[in-house]
């Protein structure tokens, strides 16, 4: 394998280039990054899941440097609040775990049982991250907290700053960079042979990675069909607003009757995203309405289409689709970088070394299919089970469920169990918090939980609540921690 050429734009291109070069450079794999004109708008921001930290570590990205450079912030999750008039309680989807094991057994069945018998304490109070989020504090895990449970955080990464940082890292790692306005895909017998760019340069490679939004090589070049997924919204704008006096430590998603508006706090600005259906409002109408509803002065709004869906065989011939070229999610849960990461991790694992690559191609496509399906199930579960009012959310409730998701929900309703599945990349507690927060009440719990006398369970709960309170109080506020990170560069 002589080299790999990656076509894309913005952060996805540079993340793919940096990750592949870092992993494969020592094996002599040359990486060409072919950059199409960046479409990043000032308001664009990537909310990330905690898992991204592993990819950043592998590339060698320093967290403080990244947040300073990208003007990012920490996030402990997303809080979906009802503004549709349905008067639903807020749904906080925190990144960490909930509760700690009791005598070696799962916490959750015990909580289900206690709640059934009238316990008034919600799941959030048993979670280090959810409790910290409620109090405006970051949660920095240590050995003591790790014994209790996971306390993970993600980031809010403004897309422009993130891309700039990643590009510099990619260049430093030895990625060869070519910039072009247009690209011609040159075909041969075994797939694609080269990319021809504006200045006439021909970039040949044995393997091509398509990291574009629209699948320039995979879909347009090779004709792989894009299978659209049903979603309630088809338009989106992003914009920026002035920084809030205090930077919240999670995203707020306001579910209105006509769509939703997300507020993502960053280091220097508040980033705003709004998704709606073009059947209900024109771009101008949506901008005006969302601007008024948010109460912020929106700067630099940029509108684009939302078109979630996937490609059956994201690796076809010698072209590997990653990110949106392979699968695009609805923006509500911020899965864009997660999908990209899944692609990069499996591509690196299956990276061909010359000779035959049929089996690795089949393996990549198999892994992507099962992993993407589980993430899609999560967003569809939210669509199906949310109880907001209005035509947008009615459409969301009509999105069809996969057989696997149908079973997952049925089992949770029956017993509060999360059916273990191959290809699952979200922790079981993410599913538990989603179902519970959406009001799915389990009819029972695993009988083993009944072996613990109720008084003993209560004592365990009291201890947990005390521990969580005490741990959260020791944590820095988000503002204080961000200030420390900003200062470190001057110190």
């Amino acid at each position: 394998m002589s080299g790999v050429a990656i076509l894309g734009r913005g952060a996805p291109l540079w993340l793919a280039a940096a990750a592949l070069r870092r992993a494969l450079g020592p094996a002599g794999v040359e990486v060409d990054a072919v950059a199409l004109p960046d479409e990043t708008a000032p308001g664009d921001l990537y909310p990330t899941l905690p898992a991204i930290e592993a990819l950043h570590d592998q590339i060698g990205i320093d967290e403080a440097v990244l947040l300073r450079g990208a003007r990012g912030a920490f996030t402990l999750g997303r809080n979906i609040v009802d503004r549709s008039g349905a008067e639903q309680p807020p749904l906080l989807l925190a990144h960490g775990g909930y509760g700690t094991g009791i005598d070696g057994e799962d916490f959750f069945p015990h909580w289900l049982k206690a709640r059934h018998h009238g316990l008034g304490v919600g799941l959030d109070d048993f979670s280090l991250t959810a409790s910290a989020a409620h109090q405006g504090r970051l949660f920095l895990p240590d050995e003591v907290s790790a014994r209790y449970g996971r306390a993970d955080y993600g980031y809010h990464l403004p897309a422009a700053g993130y891309a700039k940082n990643l590009k510099a890292i990619a260049r430093h790692l030895g990625v060869r960079i070519a910039e072009t306005r247009t690209v011609d895909v040159e075909h041969g017998e075994a797939g694609v042979t080269a990319l021809r760019i504006d200045d006439g340069t021909r970039i040949a490679a044995a393997l091509f990675v398509d990291a574009t939004r629209e699948g320039v090589v995979l879909r347009e070049g090779l004709g792989e069909a894009f299978v659209p997924w049903a979603a309630p919204g088809d338009r989106m704008f992003t914009a920026r607003a002035p920084r809030l006096a205090s930077v919240p430590v999670y995203a707020e998603v306001r579910a209105g009757a006509e769509g939703w508006t997300a507020l993502y706090p960053g280091l220097t600005h508040l980033h705003v995203a709004h998704v709606w259906s073009s059947a209900a409002a024109s771009d101008e109408e949506a901008l005006a309405a969302a601007g008024a509803a948010s109460g912020f002065a929106l700067e630099a709004p940029a509108v684009r289409a939302v078109a979630p869906g996937f490609v059956h065989e994201p690796w076809t011939a010698n072209v590997v689709g990653v990110g949106e070229a392979a699968a695009g999610f609805d923006p509500l849960h911020g899965f864009a970088l997660h999908a990209l990461q899944l692609g990069l991790v499996h591509l690196i694992a299956c990276f061909p070394t010359g000779g035959a690559m049929e089996a690795r191609r089949a393996e990549y496509n198999r892994q992507m299919a099962i992993h993407i399906a589980r993430v899609r199930d999560f967003e569809v579960a939210h669509f199906a089970l949310q109880r907001h009012a209005g035509p947008f959310w009615d459409a969301a409730r009509r999105v069809p469920l996969s057989a696997e998701l149908d079973h997952l929900i049925a089992l949770f309703r029956a017993r509060g169990e999360i059916a273990p599945q191959e290809g699952e990349s979200l922790p079981p507690d993410a599913w538990r918090a989603l179902f519970t927060g959406l009001g799915v009440v389990s009819e029972g719990w695993r009988p083993a939980a009944d072996r613990l006398p109720p008084d003993a369970a209560k004592a365990h709960f009291r201890k947990m609540l005390g521990f969580v309170r005490e741990q959260v109080l020791r944590q820095p506020t988000h503002d204080a921690y961000l200030a420390r990170i900003a200062q470190a560069s001057r110190g």
Binding site: G28, C350, T353, E358, A359, A414, E422, A448
Partner: protein, 515 residues
Amino acid sequence: MTGSPYRIVILGGGTAGWMCAAGLSRLLPAADYDITLIESDEIGTVGVGEATLPHIKTFNDMLGLDEAEFMRAAMASFKVGIEFVGWGREGERYIHPFGTFGERWAGADFQHHWARARLAGSDRRSLQDYSFAVAVCRAAGFEHPGEDPGSIRSTYAYAYHFDAGLYARYLREWTTARGVRRLEGKVASVRRDGESGDVAALALESGAEIAGDLFVDCSGFRSLLLGQTMGVPWHDWSEWLPCDRALALPCAGTAPMLPFTRCTAQRGGWTWRIPLQHRIGNGHVFASEFCSEEDAERTLRGAIDGEVQGEPRLLRFQAGRRGAGWAGNAVAIGLSSGFLEPLESTSIFLIQAAVTDLAALMPRRGQRVDPRLRAEFNRLFEVHYDRTRDFIVLHYAANAREGEPLWDHVRHMALPDSLTHKIELFRESAIAPDYALGLFSRDSWLSVFEGQGVVPRAHSPLAERLPLPELQRRLDDLAERIALNAAEMTPLAEFLADYCAAEGVALPGVAVSAA
């Protein structure tokens, strides 16, 4: 909680029946469940499960059994792997170890480094030389694994060889002492609810009728409730696993005692050798289409290395499973749910997995069977059986015994797609199966691949982050650490004598002390 306790009736008291009774009585709250087990001393049990996988320790620990006491009672010995002899070419041998191969270096799984060093010509060692568990087997030693995760002595797990009948009897004592009711009797007929078709009660030959809410079918091959009563269809897997008979014939122990099961390929099937404290279990699994019973007996007697005890016992079976493990209110566990030949010691694991799943999905007091819970049980049931099947079929598919009709047949048969992909992927790239659900880890697959000549033509480029001389230095160091530590292992028989020897048993190779 109102109403009377939920009634669970377990039919059959073999290994499956008593593991089920023990597991359920431990995992379910006693006040809410009334557990009855019906068995008949007149009905023999199959007891094929003399060899186990390391998961059994999790089950015993969950029950809270005392290891040494249970081992004394079941004449148990330790087991750190399974040796396969003659599955490649005649005379070739390898061990499927209960442990890891090597270490993960530079972000790449060990087999990629191994494949690289071999392809580069700098290293000639087998993957086997990089497993501490293999070295423990070769040294015929045993000690409990170490707890320091940095030490090579922590890189293995262990299972047991035991007398499955004695294990069942031990669990019976343990379980009945904890409130499970045992009834002696044979089932004359099954009474079903006219409307739902559920099993309502079992009528015994004595005239007694045992009513229940949920029935666990541990009736063995008969599959009285799931197969005969509920009519759940059988999925025949003999196209991939043609062996359909087994002859069992124990013999006296021989020295040194070996901490592994041995499975030796024979012309018409394969023979097993399972050393326990008081004897060696031997048997011959064969395909009647390719091998007569007389030939099988001759082969078996020829393979036995100790003084034969008694006469050979014949078993007939077919590889496969039921379409579902749970239908209506009847759940099959053990041979009533399916059968896979004991090549990889999986029978007892499949029982254990079903018991654990059933405990989590069991109806609660006052409830009926919930189809949603049943669907989950059946989903997991299929995962467990089907993944295990692929692994066992691999041993046959990758044989190199050319010119023998059975082996030529299985080498050329069409494989399940899921298995074909795994083999091709490993050949092409050294990527080995690594899944979240179901039996057999990446290391298990690696051992059989390499042991039977499925070798990679390439490796992950990630392995090239280590300079080749540095890699070779690490490989040499690893092999040396393994050899040094294995040389210090206590011989198995001595370890057993100190730890858990049954009274009155003379372990082979251990001098009887005057103490």
